[in-house]
Amino acid sequence: MGMTITEKILAKAAKRANVIPGESVWLDVDVLMTHDVCGPPTIAIWKKEFGEQAKVWDKQKLVIFPDHYIFTKNVHANRNVDILRQFAAEYDLPNYYDVGTERYKGVCHIALAEEGYNVPGTVLFGTDSHTCTSGAFGMFSTGVGNTDAAFILGTGKIWEKIPESIKFTFNGKMPEYLTAKDLILQILGDITTDGATYRAMEFDGEAISGMNMLERMTLTNMAIEGGGMNGIIAVDDVTRNYLKEIGVTQYEEFTSDADAVYHSKYTYDVTKLEPTVAKPHSPDNRATVREVEGTKITKAYVGSCTGGKITDFQYAAKLLLGQKVKVTTFIVPASTQVAKQLEEETISGISLKEIFVNAGCTIAESSCAACLGGPSDTIGRSSDGDVVVSTTNRNFPGRMGSKASQVYLASPLTVAASAVTGELTDPRKFL
């Protein structure tokens, strides 16, 4: 019987010839990633459980990105970064990216890609549900809690249940008004927020082949919004070229067998899809932008691991060139590298940063910022009565701050078009 790409990678990590969905196996972990919110409790559990013997299993395989609550006066949040800093110093950790230094990166899932930690065929665990993002690189990646992370930190091993796989095939060439965000919101409306629970979400098709790595990461990033254990896209020339540019050359490629068994399969024709949103208060509450067009908004937000990559800002800038925003609009580059790219990349000779400034947007420093609300002084945090249109990933009650606010999740094109008109707007009006 054939195997899926996810089954093959997990079999390799379990040192097995094959694995069967539903069985639990122990895996050797290639990379453990943590950040300022879940790192400190992970370290506390690790110290408590291993006691005097506590040892980091492999310093090269531990990666720590403070990214969640960085630009805040909250003393408890700052203490968490201090704990990471001390831990990194005490154990002489090579892969710690400290706040306030040139090494600071910003949002972990984007930094993992930029810094070459996403290696095809490997297994990466992180203390963040959006760790599934890395699956765009033909690898297995998923989120875990602090206890599991503490166990990996000390042993390099963790148990996992082999997931069944669901295949999503996108045929056709992407029209200019669609982005990967529209595709994943389409899927979520179809499968709902638990349709892929304990399952792998595998993406392929002509539209995926034509996508750059950053757009592919938008798809795998939101696999967790369907409950998915991981999202995954097989390696192709787009992946190989991205990796070559950042100097990653040693890796193993896996692909699903033609006779691999899937839980289910979904097929889409992208030329028949249209700009899509998730209405409050769930990522699966799908509507086309046309269906909600005219809904008044109070804020627009472009940022996060989902929608704060350079490609997201290219989309937004294309629409905001020469325009003025009608509502407060936040531009939050996910990483410091993206922030630099905003200054370097141009449209019609004007840098993306200038386009945003000229349009009246507020540009913030790189971090997770208001995607998850955060401490009360977090930039972009929603207030009572706000109606936000955002490129982020979740619109649960209170997720972006106030319980009495509403969040519409949308593509960077839809967010930019809506920012210009002050109401939810189909980007096709501007293209």
Partner: protein, 185 residues
């Protein structure tokens, strides 16, 4: 592991995400300092919209006033309990508040793992939907040997799904205890 858990039930709807269980702004407190730990109990389930807090009538806060412990020991949820962010602070917050078991139709993977591996509470799956059959405030008895929940207020009894492959970890009280008992660490 206790064999019988008896206490009042607190009933919630479907898709209770971890932002509702413990809002992100509170994730700054220490999980090892006993005093700060109480904050997690105090803010447990604080972002559940008030009309859906304590079904069927709603508007029943899980935590009253300045307390950090709840009068409810068993949470009855719907489908996809604990979806969203991976924060282990979610089952921790419920544990600090005094919750011993959750009975839901289904769980999001990370919340389920965290509950089991961290040894915070026992995540049972019902054989049927129970959040429309048990009311907030009902006295219930969960029998871990028989895999049943009895509603002492109404007299009805329902079967729960066996814990299956995670039983040993639950029985050990979490992943680390399990690993020590099995000489893995």
């Amino acid at each position: 592991m206790e064999n019988i858990i008896t206490g009042k039930a607190y009933v919630l709807g479907d898709n209770i995400d971890t932002d509702q269980i413990i809002p992100a702004e509170h994730l700054v407190y220490s999980t090892s300092d006993p005093e700060e730990l109480k904050k997690y109990g105090h803010f447990a389930l604080s972002s559940v919209p008030i009309e859906k807090a304590g079904l069927p009538q709603g508007k029943t806060p899980f935590i009253v006033g300045e307390n950090y412990q709840s009068e409810y020991k068993v949470v009855i949820g719907g489908s996809n309990f604990g979806c969203g962010s991976s924060r282990e602070h979610a089952p921790l917050a419920l544990q600090v508040a005094g919750v011993k078991a959750i009975i839901a139709e289904s769980y999001a993977r990370i919340f389920y793992r965290n509950s089991v591996d961290g040894g915070f509470l026992i995540p049972f799956e019902g054989n049927e939907k129970l959040n429309d059959k048990i009311k907030t405030g009902d006295e219930v008895e969960v029998d871990l040997n028989a895999n049943t929940i009895k509603n002492l207020t109404s007299g009805n009894e329902y079967q729960l799904r066996p814990l299956g492959s995670v039983y040993d970890i639950v029985n050990s009280g979490g992943l680390f205890n399990y690993a020590r008992e099995n000489k893995m660490i």
